[in-house]
Amino acid sequence: MSKIDWAAFPDARGHFGPYGGRFVSETLMGALDELQKAYEQYMGDADFMAELDHDLKQFVGRPNPLYHAERLSKELAGAQVYFKREDLNHTGAHKVNNTIGQALLAKRLGKTRIIAETGAGQHGVATATVAARLGLECVIYMGEEDTRRQTPNVFRMRLLGAEVVAVKSGTRTLKDALNEAMRDWVTNVDDTFYIIGTVAGPHPYPAMVRDFQAVIGREARAQHLEMTGKLPDALVACVGGGSNAIGLFHPFLDDESVEMIGVEAAGAGIESGRHSAPLCAGQPGVLHGNRTYLMEDEHGQIVGTHSVSAGLDYPGVGPEHAWLKDTGRARYVAVTDDQALEGFHRLTRTEGIIPALETSHAIAHVLELAPTMRPDQSIIVNLSGRGDKDLNTVAEREGITL
């Protein structure tokens, strides 16, 4: 396992071992070639990188802290728990790291219209935000079910000037929003830039979004070294499409002593079938432009998913995670809706931080993991987003009317 040259992935055609690739209709192949060229050119362009760094600092507020949760660590009586505070970014989640980068690319390519899919609405808000700032037209596709679950974010996007289209096809959640965004892109490919919100989709998206999110892991690694003089023992992040997780993991891939754990949504429980855990309970297939682990039936139809958190409610996962799972470099677990809610309350009460429900899955796992470790060991948890958008959902589950 230690012999894998992680930096060599993906290959030139976007493959992570058997995963990834570019499985799209012919109409998009030209646009993806154009995007790949631009991405390769500008990631090595000093002016572009300077502009990106400037925006991450002055607009997003990076670097954000690596916070030592001393009270929680003491209560868990095990490993020291550190939170990478992506919730403190402008717009409240890690998603903006990626939208800033892609919007700058869109501008370089002369595109005048931005589209995106969104589940929890965090990526939609982050996209609408950068579109507003750059004066670009913006259309956000969101499953109708999610527009209901995440009304505050729908309103935020509209305030920012975006058109929010409620998608009524299929299961009316994130996967259907992605289908609809792809249809828009195929139709308006000349003037439109599609900002995919996670490390999924056709090549180069999984690699490009990873590279924009890797700032999380680069900062966290340096901060942890500075604070403790050593590397952490484990990294924990929730996995929907997998962008906050890969952003944290990627800069540590060569650090063999660092264990990586991705936390999927077990929804009502893996046995119930009502979950969103393709890595834990799915199998490889092809959807949304790449080969990866999917939730599908015996005939290859994608099945409906369930999670209390809209941002994890997706039947696929980024192809690099599929590869990290098969190689054994990372391992993947799943926690239920109920466990996630426990994590949500525990962090809120113990540390005074209200996390997103997506993030609460990672926290729930840490509540189990930390006590199995020694106090001289440490865990970095990606605190991928803040929970303001989820207050309605939490209240509703607990029978409270706001």
Partner: protein, 277 residues
């Protein structure tokens, strides 16, 4: 010669263009599909494109999305669709049948199993919209052995370099997507089409089919002037929605559309314009 080659050779000798209706298998109900295929042949279809329903038809507009949803009400699977092809073959050994769909159901069945079953069923071609030639190395050999033609798309956005690449991998015919967009989009502009087809012909001797946006007999006729095959999908599938619950009425209405196109396409070709291949 394969069934597809025979069909195009015959049409060429008659100076006619192929009429290729698309229907989604299992729409509006599974029992309706085989009789519908026979009815379409009777009305003048030369080749049938049979859609394999998929839960996430990303390249399709609302009309075919709904057709997939109707077919999936009955759980119409790839296995079922191959069964329909076998049933059709019992009484029609000449009309080529091409499956059109998405990769995942084929991948789930397994490429080897698919190739064997498809051959047994008498299938002639496979078009998976989300499988570009770059990704088809695993599949190509298996299909070739089973004499199933891999059919590929060329789009308005396809560069010359890519056309050459597609042409090398393609068998049977090449499907030119006549507009940017999903199936069932706005009506097609036929004037630019001739030049575009000419450019593709620089790279291949395969017959060229044209589809997306052909919704009436007049457009079908104009396309038949310059293309070797005319593919009609949403204009037919639209009727399945109208006749949901009435498969006989649907077959009748679909046949009328096909027959009208047949007459116009043959009239255009007979009025002196030479086939361009």
């Amino acid at each position: 010669m394969t069934r597809i080659e025979q069909r195009f050779a015959k049409l060429r000798s008659e100076n006619r263009a192929a009429l290729v209706p698309y229907v989604t298998a299992g729409d509006p109900e599974p029992a309706a599909t085989v009789p519908l295929m026979h009815a379409l042949v009777k009305a003048g279809a030369d080749l049938i494109e049979l859609g394999v329903p998929f839960s996430d038809p990303m390249a399709d507009g609302p009309v075919i999305q709904k057709a997939c949803e109707r077919a999936l009400r009955y759980g119409t699977s790839l296995r079922d669709v191959l069964g329909m092809v076998a049933e059709f073959r019992k009484t029609d050994v000449e009309t080529p049948v091409v499956l059109m769909g998405y990769l995942n159901p084929v991948e789930r069945m397994g490429y080897q199993t698919f190739a064997e079953k498809a051959r047994e069923a008498g299938l002639d071609g496979l078009l998976t919209v989300d499988l570009p030639p770059e990704e088809c190395d695993d599949v190509a050999g298996l299909l070739e052995n089973a004499q199933i033609a891999p059919i590929f798309l060329v789009a308005p956005t396809t560069s010359d370099e890519r056309i050459a690449h597609v042409a090398r991998a393609a068998r049977g015919f090449i499907y030119y997507v006549s507009l940017k967009g999903v199936t069932g989009s706005q009506t097609l502009d036929t004037s630019a089409l001739a030049a575009r087809l000419e450019a593709i012909r620089q790279h291949t001797d395969l017959p060229l089919g044209v589809g997306f946006g052909i919704r009436d007999a007049a457009t079908a006729g104009q396309v038949a002037r310059v293309a070797d095959a005319v593919v009609v999908g949403s204009a037919i599938v639209r009727l399945a929605e109208e006749f949901d619950g009435d498969p006989v009425g649907f077959a009748h209405a679909a046949s009328e559309v096909v027959a009208g196109m047949r007459v116009e396409m043959d009239r255009v070709r007979a009025s002196g314009v030479e086939a361009s291949v």
